[in-house]
């Protein structure tokens, strides 16, 4: 393999390495520096809280205001809850990312037949039930699974059983099994807070009534069976609100409902006593007087952690836990002592039972969730956890925080604008620099050379954006010949073709000059020196000796060779187009890549910053390689890598 091929292969192999190093570096910087999305959300909340309190308000009460769950959600969304490297790999698309996809209610479309049949079955069942209940209601009977029951008082039972039943009834949740076991020897069941006993089917007084009820019961049973059948065959189910869902979620929903119910009951017990539960422990708020007795050093440390916001929350909590305290929504809590628990024994035992029930319900739910691969939240929304690789390797640049559109879309749309300016600027610099350089070389050390040199050096000294600023002040503001900013007229759609073209040119003139100035001096001098060098070469002497005309010697022989270094700059120019445009686009208010990157930095829009970086680095890396390739192609004397 020739040295050249090896050289280019090495260059190409270095591209991914460079790319990874740079992106990892910037990603880590973005992750470690404060002021990320979480802090921003917090600051926004603070601002809102401040303005809500009428501008004033003490700073302490406005910290940690953001709902902690919302914060966790934010963190998870931005992969901030993961180590930097994991986050980076997820961003790259090597490591799978967790998606929460909401499982939709089964769409009616495509399931019309099933839906209709289910609805019919549902209707039949409710009609049958209604008829039965209408028949039963005068006698206060209740039907359950094909049998009839009547309300029963437990007065007749002995005292101990009564007490046991009452106490069980009071802490009903999670204790049904217990209660029913107690009731079984007395042939009773418990339903909806009432004790029921089966009716005596032998009772002659009831025979007529029962006979009338039998077909109704049968109808209900039949309707139930047919609906059940329908549900199992179609795998679908109607919710109470009339939507279709999959039967597979039955258990999930049931367990969740139960969990929520128990949780509510627990909360109902705790709220009046102002007791909260953290980590299965009972905490009570610390009153102002009690707070004064707490060690000052602890409070100071805690206060400073609180004021540092959400980022320090974990630290704060673990610190306080060591001192039997905790913190929630701007209040300090302390562990309920054993003494006060003994004092209020009944309350705490009942709450403890509920807590256990809640834990159990939670565990069962988690098990089912895990087993089925679906999750359900408090509102009963079911979603699916999917792990998928979605990073820039898959072409997924993520979504912008601030623009609510995919990053790739914003970048591509802005890229066009920037490219337009860059290309026109580059073309223009060729059109100006090459002839200028040639003339300067031919008139080396004349007045023309030195006067133009002054301008060239001025162009080198002043950055493009300052030239733009100057032109804007002097041509756009002071004499109003050209518009002040933007890259096309606002009303371009209404204009005729010619007017639109002129408008565009007028808008683009100043920024294009700014772009051109960037490489203008270097290119002119390069052209001049390169031509001068070639004019001293032997082959020029030979050409002259052959008797060729000066024009032919210069413009055919010398110029062709002198253009080589400039042509090779094409790839570098690609990189420069990107780097230079921050300033010019900001100055001339052009909505391109540079302005996008600038705004992203100002707004801390990480996905966009990373996206812009990716494009910038890739353009630069490949630009350099293209430069070398072009150079090797047009100049056979060049040997890289040897």
């Amino acid at each position: 393999m020739s040295g050249m091929t090896v050289y280019f292969i090495r260059r190409l192999m270095l591209v991914p390495v460079t790319f990874l190093i740079i992106t990892l570096m910037v990603y880590s910087i973005l992750r470690y520096v404060p002021g990320g999305p979480i802090e921003q959300a917090e600051a926004a909340m603070k601002m809102a809280a401040m303005s809500g309190e009428g501008g004033g308000g003490n700073s302490e009460s406005t910290t940690l205001q953001l709902d902690e769950e919302a914060m966790e959600e934010l963190k998870r969304y931005y992969a901030l809850d993961k180590p930097v490297l994991t986050g980076y790999l997820q961003w790259l698309g090597i490591y799978p990312r967790e998606f929460r996809r909401r499982v939709p209610v089964v769409p009616e479309k495509g399931n019309e037949k099933n839906a209709r049949e289910l609805r019919e079955a549902h209707k039949k069942l409710s009609v049958a039930k209604e008829a039965l209940e209408k028949h039963l209601s005068p006698k206060h009977f209740v039907h359950l699974e094909g049998r009839l029951y009547q309300p029963e008082s437990i007065e007749g039972l002995d005292k101990t059983t009564q007490d046991a039943l009452n106490s069980e009834k009071a802490q009903s949740f999670g204790k049904h099994q217990n209660l029913n076991n107690l009731l079984k020897p007395h042939n009773l069941i418990f339903l909806d807070g009432k004790f029921l006993s089966p009716i005596d089917t032998k009772d002659p007084q009831l025979q007529a009534f029962l006979q009338q009820a039998a077909p109704l019961l049968k109808a209900v049973k039949k309707a139930q069976e047919s609906m059940h059948h329908k549900e199992t065959t179609s795998g679908l189910k109607l919710t109470t609100s009339g939507h279709l869902i999959r039967t597979a979620f039955d258990r999930l929903i049931e367990l969740n409902t139960r969990k929520v119910e128990v949780g509510k009951a627990l909360q109902a017990q705790l709220t009046p006593k102002k007791i909260s539960i953290f980590d299965q422990q009972f905490y009570e708020p610390i009153s102002e007087e009690a707070l004064k007795k707490v060690d000052k050093a602890i409070l100071e440390t805690a206060g400073s952690l609180v004021s540092q916001g959400f980022g320090k929350r974990d630290e704060l909590l673990s610190f306080l836990r060591n001192h039997n305290m905790t913190w929630k929504k701007n209040e300090y809590y302390r562990l309920v002592t054993q003494e006060s628990r003994d004092k209020d024994k009944d309350f705490f035992t009942s709450v403890q039972t509920l807590l256990k029930a809640l834990t159990m319900a939670n565990a069962r739910l988690l098990r089912v969730e895990h087993f089925q691969g679906f999750r359900i939240n408090e509102e009963g929304v079911i979603y699916q956890i999917e792990n998928a690789r979605a990073g820039i390797l898959q072409g997924d640049f993520g979504r912008s925080y601030t623009r609510s559109e995919p990053v790739l879309k914003s970048i591509v749309s802005k890229f066009e604008v920037s490219l337009q300016f860059g290309l026109i600027g580059y073309l223009l610099s060729w059109l100006i620099c090459v002839p200028l350089g040639v003339f300067k070389a031919l008139r080396h050390k004349t007045t023309f050379d030195s006067t133009t040199s002054a301008f060239v050096f001025l162009g080198y000294a002043i950055p493009g954006f300052v030239v733009c600023l100057m032109l804007l002040t002097w041509v756009a503001v002071n004499v109003e010949w050209l518009p002040l900013g933007g890259y096309k007229p606002d009303n371009i759609e209404e204009l005729s073709n010619l007017d639109a073209f002129i408008g565009r040119v007028r808008h683009m003139l100043i920024p294009v000059i700014g772009y051109t100035i960037g490489g203008f001096a270097t290119m002119t001098i390069l052209m001049k020196n390169s031509l001068l060098e070639n004019l001293g070469q032997d082959y020029i002497r030979t050409a002259f000796a052959k008797g060729l005309k000066e024009k032919r010697v210069i413009f055919v022989h010398a110029l062709r060779n002198s253009l080589i270094p400039i042509t090779a700059g094409i790839g570098h120019a690609l990189g420069l187009l990107f780097a230079g445009s921050f300033l010019i686009e900001k100055t001339c208010n052009i909505d391109g890549m540079g302005l996008l990157g600038y705004q992203a930095i100002v707004e801390r829009d990480y996905p966009i910053i990373m996206g812009v970086l990716v494009f910038g680095v890739l353009i630069r890396l490949f630009g350099n390689i293209i430069s070398d390739v072009v150079w090797a192609l047009i100049d056979p004397r060049i040997r890289f890598g040897s």
Binding site: L14, V17, T18, I21, I22, M25, V26, I29, L30, V33, P34, G35, H444, S453, F457, L458, Y460, A461, I462, P463, F465, V466, L469, M470, L472, T473, W474, A476, V477, N478, L484, N529, L532, E533, L535, G536, I540, R541, F544, E550, F578, A579, F582, L583, K586, T587, G597, Y598, I601, V602, R604, I609, V612, L613, G616, V617, R620, L621, N624
Partner: protein, 471 residues
């Protein structure tokens, strides 16, 4: 007349700085070098190059102007300052500007008090004395103090008239008769009483100032870059070339533009010099080692530089600056680390690589000269031509970078004087206050043009290209 006098004083300071920069400092440098045992004589080749540089007049003059200007700017606190050089009350004498200057050079020692307190000067009030008023009063106590007192009284009358008019209008709206002789509300009376007391206090100062006990010497330009001139008539920004307003006007914060330009020059130039110098030191060391030792070290560092130079450095610095508000030194380090050392490393590496195979190096090596000595004494002086010729252009680049970053709002911290910040203010209000763009742009362009001229002359002198051309 006053402006002419100031101009003359300015030229005088410039002349002194010229003598210091180009006569005294080189003398000290050479003498101290000789005392330390160096020869301190240029090699014939270098002497020839220097002579050639001096013969290129545009570059040489630019060099004289700029170097003198920079040395002069190191003493800016002494002639562009809102603090007086000397302020006296009988036996009590203070030199606030001098202390201020001292504080600039020895920043750890900020306790050195560079303000004059009113209580030491028979004045009322808190904080710093308003030196400019003080100077006016010293100049012409009877008239100026009387004028100031009168101005306060006039203001009271005006305000009273305006207030009464408002009252009358209010009464008319409610359909009531307004009696102009009725007493004013209590808070207004109180305010007026305070103001009248202030006027009386000013009149009371006349004998003190007339006694000749007070004296003050203000710097030539009695403003500084960070003082908001709230007492000026009208609302900032003030346009330049108006009576009673600093020559180049003020910016949106009411800060003097001229002093910001001058202090900004010092900051930008010092910044670029420091970045370029440190970057060159690192780059030369790295490049020399790469070129001289070659092998794995060379390849590894080459690859590293290839990776490192692909970082979009402006973008990265913007990201970093957006979160940490870098100080002068942090920003300099950032620029050195991300950019300044890269370019020269390659050049020096090439030079060392070439020179290493020359006969004189072989000869020195054969004679048993150590590697460090060969690198430092034999190769380095022969590889410095590109280093010297590129240096001025690096200065241009870093001044440009600092101005760009300040312009984008990701530059040095807010209390640092800078051209970029002025440009930013101007650019944001370009249609209303174009002078805020024009003035810094002119200063900026002139400075950088001078540097480029120097650079071009240095290149011409050190690395002349002689083109042979037929016809």
């Amino acid at each position: 007349m006053g402006i002419l006098l100031n101009l003359f004083a300015f030229i005088a300071i410039y002349a002194v700085s010229y003598v210091i920069t180009h006569k005294i400092l080189p003398l000290i440098f050479i003498k101290s070098g000789r005392i330390l045992g160096f020869k301190m004589a240029l090699t014939p080749l270098t002497a020839k190059r220097v002579r050639r540089f001096q013969s290129i007049r545009r570059g040489h003059y630019c060099f004289l102007i700029l170097s003198t200007g920079f040395i002069m700017s190191l003493g800016l606190e002494l002639y562009v300052n809102n603090k007086p050089l000397r302020i006296q009350n009988g036996d009590h004498v203070q030199y606030p500007a001098l202390v201020n200057w001292y504080n600039f050079w020895v920043p750890e020692n900020m306790e050195a008090i560079d303000i004059a307190l009113p209580k030491d000067f028979n004045l009322l009030g808190e904080g710093e004395i308003d030196y400019r008023s003080f100077a006016r009063w010293v100049d012409n106590p009877h008239q100026e103090l009387e004028n100031d007192a009168q101005a306060i009284e006039d203001a009271i009358l005006q305000d009273q008239a305006r207030f009464q008019k408002a009252l009358a209008k209010n009464a008319q709206q409610k359909g009531l008769e307004y009696d102009p002789k009725a007493a004013l509300p209590e808070f207004k009376e109180k305010e007026y009483k305070n103001q009248r007391e202030k006027a009386d206090y000013l009149r009371g100062l006349i004998p003190i100032f007339a006694s000749g006990k007070m004296a003050i010497t203000m710097p030539i330009i009695p403003y500084t870059y960070n003082q908001q001139l709230l007492a000026l008539p009208g609302r900032p920004p003030h346009r330049p070339m108006q009576d009673g307003i600093p020559v180049l006007g003020t910016d949106f914060d009411g800060k003097d533009v001229l002093s910001q330009l001058l202090y900004g020059f010092r900051v930008s130039f010092a910044f670029a010099l420091i970045v370029a110098t440190i970057g060159y030191l690192i780059g030369i060391v790295a490049g020399a080692a790469m070129g001289y030792f070659g092998g794995w070290f060379d390849i590894l560092v080459q690859r590293f530089i290839e990776v490192w130079s692909s970082i979009p450095f402006l973008f990265t610095i913007m990201i970093l600056a957006s979160v940490m508000q870098p100080s002068f030194w942090v920003m300099a380090c950032l620029l050195v680390a991300l950019r300044a050392w890269l370019g020269i490393t390659y050049t020096v590496r090439g030079e060392f690589y070439r020179e290493k195979s020359r006969d004189y190096v072989q000869a020195a090596s054969a004679m048993g000269v150590g590697e460090t000595k060969i690198m430092l004494k034999h190769i380095l002086p022969n590889s410095l031509v590109p280093v010297v010729t590129y240096f001025p252009f690096e200065i241009v680049a870093y001044i440009g970078a600092l101005v760009s970053l300040d312009f984008l709002g990701f530059g040095l911290s807010a209390d640092t004087p800078s051209w970029g910040k002025l440009l930013r203010q101007g650019a944001e209000n370009i249609s209303t206050y174009p002078h805020l763009v024009s003035i810094p742009v002119l200063a900026f362009a002139a400075t950088l043009f001078c540097v480029v001229m120097i650079g071009e002359a240095v290149r011409e002198a050190f690395d002349p290209k002689v083109y042979a051309r037929l016809r």
